[in-house]
């Protein structure tokens, strides 16, 4: 099949980006495929092209409603009209209408919990699927923010015989996550197509300090002297707010962003950052997914991320435009304890699990039982899933193993920071990548000369022109 011709005729591109063609060929050969591609590397073409030549519909399972809406919208904009995004937020009548003509759609985006709705999965079994795609496939494995227990149910759905090939897409995956993806999605001898996660235009620095006051001082000086736009990641909402206020006092256009803010303000802050009204964002890990901004020049970590994968993903939001970008991580020895505490507090403890299990057995409702056992939201969801499938002792063992693994991942992150080896190479080797060429601006271990571009700050004219209320409306609507 002349893929290049199809690419040009149907999608208007002259050539494939690295990795795309290989993934497409595997799928056309009906092989299960795991594609590890950095964000912004054209993941969606990997299923759009095969979908357009194969007979039947492509099912795409996506963890975030906003993300799937976004992708469906982009496909429609590019001329593919046979797209639908189906999730449990749609009104009942709308869902019924879509379900009635499901076979007419070429690309069906769904959220994972749709699969546990019997009417839908029955309907799905009756239409012809050419391909099943799982977006953000690492959500099956990570405990914590990204983890989606709903993803564990996809495996149950995929048990069906003679299913079409499966494509698991993700931006980061270490060996463990890869194994989880393969195992839980019941993939058959998948081909792993990996594009290097190395981002040569990003330089890495570790800055050792002794107190959080020192961190604040460093950040204040850094932000005053170097270019934005940038993101500062903090471990808590409180710290994000605190840093934002400190920087505002210095006259920086900055806002904090975290799940404690009302939804409208969060959208506004994102939009202001996108539009360049804000130069910096002080955020918890709630900021990032679905934010398309190419010219982020700096990512600063005020804390120690729980895993190398999380770190690389957050850092990877910088420099999407290919221009130089800088990642700095501030570290003090007590950070390891702090991060460890945060990780463990998310995990249900043994007595909590036993307590919950007993109460469910005694007929308490899951809601009240989880409250009594003081489980976190995530903890409850995972536990509920496990309880359907395993005995209490197995569950305890699983959580114990999970907890050990979490600590191990944190230990590796600490190693990356304190080990004294090239940060880039160490991170890449964590993902099973070797060697590669070192860019001139590599990392603080390899030695960073004064990086000139970082200090070329243009003085932005403060566009704080004040409009009256009716001028503002005229400005917006004419």
């Amino acid at each position: 099949m002349d893929l290049n011709r199809i690419l040009l005729e149907r999608f208007g591109y002259e050539s494939f980006r690295p990795g795309q063609e290989e993934v497409i060929r595997h799928l056309l050969d009906k092989r299960d495929t795991i594609a590890i591609l950095p964000t912004g590397m054209g993941k969606s073409l990997c299923y759009q092209l095969p979908g357009s030549v194969l007979e039947g519909s492509v099912l795409i399972i996506s963890p975030l409603v906003s993300l799937m809406e976004d992708q469906a919208m982009r496909m429609r904009q590019n001329g593919e009209k046979r797209v639908v995004a189906l999730n449990s937020f749609l009104p009942y009548s709308e869902r019924q209408r879509i379900m009635g003509q499901l076979q007419n759609y070429k690309f069906i985006f769904i959220s994972p919990e749709m699969l546990s709705q019997e009417a839908f999965s029955r309907k799905l079994n009756r239409i012809r699927l050419s391909l099943v795609v799982i977006d953000e496939a690492h959500c099956i494995s990570q405990w914590g923010f990204d983890f989606r227990p709903d993803y564990l149910r996809i495996g149950d759905f995929l048990k069906l015989k003679g299913r079409p090939p499966l494509l698991a897409l993700t931006a980061t995956a270490d060996e463990k996550v890869l194994n989880d993806i393969q195992h839980y999605f019941k993939m058959e001898k998948p081909i792993v197509q990996r594009h290097s996660l190395d981002r040569p235009n990003i330089s890495y620095s570790i800055v050792e300090v002794h107190s959080s006051q020192e961190k604040t001082a460093w950040i204040k000086e850094r932000v005053a002297q170097t270019v934005g736009p940038g993101i500062i990641y903090a471990s808590s909402r409180k710290r994000a707010d605190e840093l934002a206020i400190e920087l505002q006092l210095e006259g920086i256009a900055v806002q904090s962003y975290h799940a404690g803010k009302e939804q409208d303000d969060r959208s506004i802050i994102q939009e202001q950052f996108l539009m360049g009204d804000l130069e910096w964002i002080c955020a918890t890990n709630a900021f990032g997914m679905g934010v398309h901004k190419d010219d982020i020049r700096q990512v600063i970590h005020d804390h120690l991320p729980p895993t190398i994968a999380a770190y690389i993903q957050e850092v990877g939001r910088a420099g999407r435009d290919g221009q130089p970008a800088a990642a700095s991580l501030l570290y003090m020895p007590t950070d390891e304890q702090t991060s460890s505490f945060i990780i463990q507090s998310d995990m249900p403890r043994e007595e909590e699990i036993r307590h919950y299990h007993r109460m469910i057995g005694e007929g308490h409702s899951p809601g009240s039982a989880s409250e009594l056992a003081s489980l976190t939201e995530t903890g409850k969801r995972v536990l509920d899933y496990y309880m359907e499938h395993y005995s209490l002792e197995e569950i305890l063992l699983k959580f114990h193993r999970l907890s050990t693994e979490k600590n191990e991942q944190l230990r590796q992150m600490v190693q990356l920071v304190t080990g004294g080896l090239c940060i880039r190479q160490r991170a890449l080797s964590y993902f099973g990548e070797m060697g590669g060429t070192k860019p001139v601006e590599c990392c603080s271990i390899c030695g960073l000369e004064t990086v000139k571009w970082l200090y070329e700050k243009s003085i932005k004219p403060s566009a704080a022109e004040k409009f009256s209320w009716d001028e503002r409306i005229t400005n917006l609507l004419g």
Binding site: S66, L274, T474, N475, L477
Partner: protein, 345 residues
């Protein structure tokens, strides 16, 4: 206007007859028998549910401010105004909330306007791709339907909506600062909305006070566009915002059975609910229907007797009335006080 000044007003209405938390339940819009009865007794419908997410700590802080400045005192369990407080109430600005009608749903109305303005603002510039500022799916679907078969890309259409909006804001009688806040919460291709923190920094005052201004602003805008042919498009945006039944769903269910002729006891059995819950429902029904047949429950003479006693004693406290009318139950007394509110005024 801030939380303390609203509380001072509410306390003046409930003077000396309610405990500390009655105000919290009122502002949050708690749908319990007691709160719903209070709303009616004390004429505080406008403040019902204006702050559905009010934190207890924020509330106590505002109460403490009033206590510290000597405007209110706590008399055993009850909260009442001091002389100083009564004077201050006279100086309060007039409030224009309509909480009973909107109950927090005014934010859905604004969400629709915000997404509508953003959409038109981008489309008139020929930009078809933008990040929707509203993430709420119901709002997105509503606006999408609203814009079906409209001349979306016609700049004249956007301008018409803008003019309608300006006209409605002018006619609403809201303050300049409220119009400014409203406009600053809008996003489009040429300008992005300001967060509450940013508005507070610019205008002074706290974010809570600004939010209250904003809520009142929406409560003034909504009736203007609801009742007039002048604002055809905004009228559609306001569709379904005002509550159409003032009864809670559960009270509605009880009412249907009551209308079919069931007694309260039989309703309690049918619905497997406690008698006290059914009593709350009956009170709710009486509150929302001026023609509610109170005489089904108490004789006309007793009603008159209770009402005049209440006036004589100058109280609406059930405990005191109960001392006078020992044969009547608390429920019957509540019912009388609810249904005969107008006589009282």
């Amino acid at each position: 206007m801030n939380l303390s000044s609203i509380l001072l007003f509410v306390i003046s209405k409930m003077n000396g007859q309610r405990t500390l938390n009655a105000g919290l339940h009122l502002l949050r819009g708690k749908k319990s028998g007691q709160t719903l009865t209070d709303v009616e007794y004390f004429n505080v419908k406008p403040f019902f549910a204006i702050l559905p997410k009010l934190e207890e700590s924020t509330y106590s802080q505002a109460i403490d401010e009033l206590l510290d400045s000597g405007l209110i005192i706590q008399d055993e369990k009850f909260i009442k105004l001091t002389e100083e407080g009564s004077k201050r109430v006279e100086e309060l600005p007039e409030f224009h909330f309509r909480g009973w009608d909107y109950r927090g749903r005014e934010m859905i109305f604004f969400g629709r306007i915000a997404l509508l303005v953003q959409t038109l603002s981008f489309l008139r510039e020929g930009e078809f791709s933008f990040n929707p500022i509203q993430k709420d799916r119901d709002i997105q679907i509503f606006v999408k339907r609203l814009l079906e078969r409209q001349p979306l890309t016609d700049p004249g259409f956007a301008k018409r909506i803008g003019d309608e909006l300006k006209m409605a804001l002018l006619k609403s009688g809201m303050s300049e600062i409220q119009k400014y806040i409203f406009a600053c919460r809008l996003t489009g291709s040429t300008a992005t909305a300001k967060t509450w923190d940013q508005l507070a920094a610019e205008l002074g005052g706290g974010t809570d006070a600004l939010r209250l201004q904003f809520i009142e602003c929406l409560h003034r805008l909504l009736p203007i566009v609801e009742d007039s042919d002048e604002f055809p498009f905004l009228g559609k945006v306001a569709f379904g915002i005002k509550v159409n039944s003032y009864l809670t769903d559960s009270a509605m269910h009880t009412k249907r059975l009551f209308d079919q002729g069931h007694s309260m006891a039989s309703i309690a059995t049918i619905r497997k609910l406690k008698m006290s819950t059914i009593e709350d429902h009956v009170i709710e029904m009486a509150m929302n229907d001026k023609r509610f047949p109170v005489t089904h429950f108490v004789s006309e003479e007793l009603i008159q007797a209770v009402v005049s006693k209440s006036q004589e004693l100058g109280t609406k406290r059930l405990k005191l009335l109960k001392d006078e009318f020992d044969t009547l139950s608390y429920f019957e007394l509540r019912l009388i006080m609810t249904a005969c509110k107008e006589v009282d005024n």
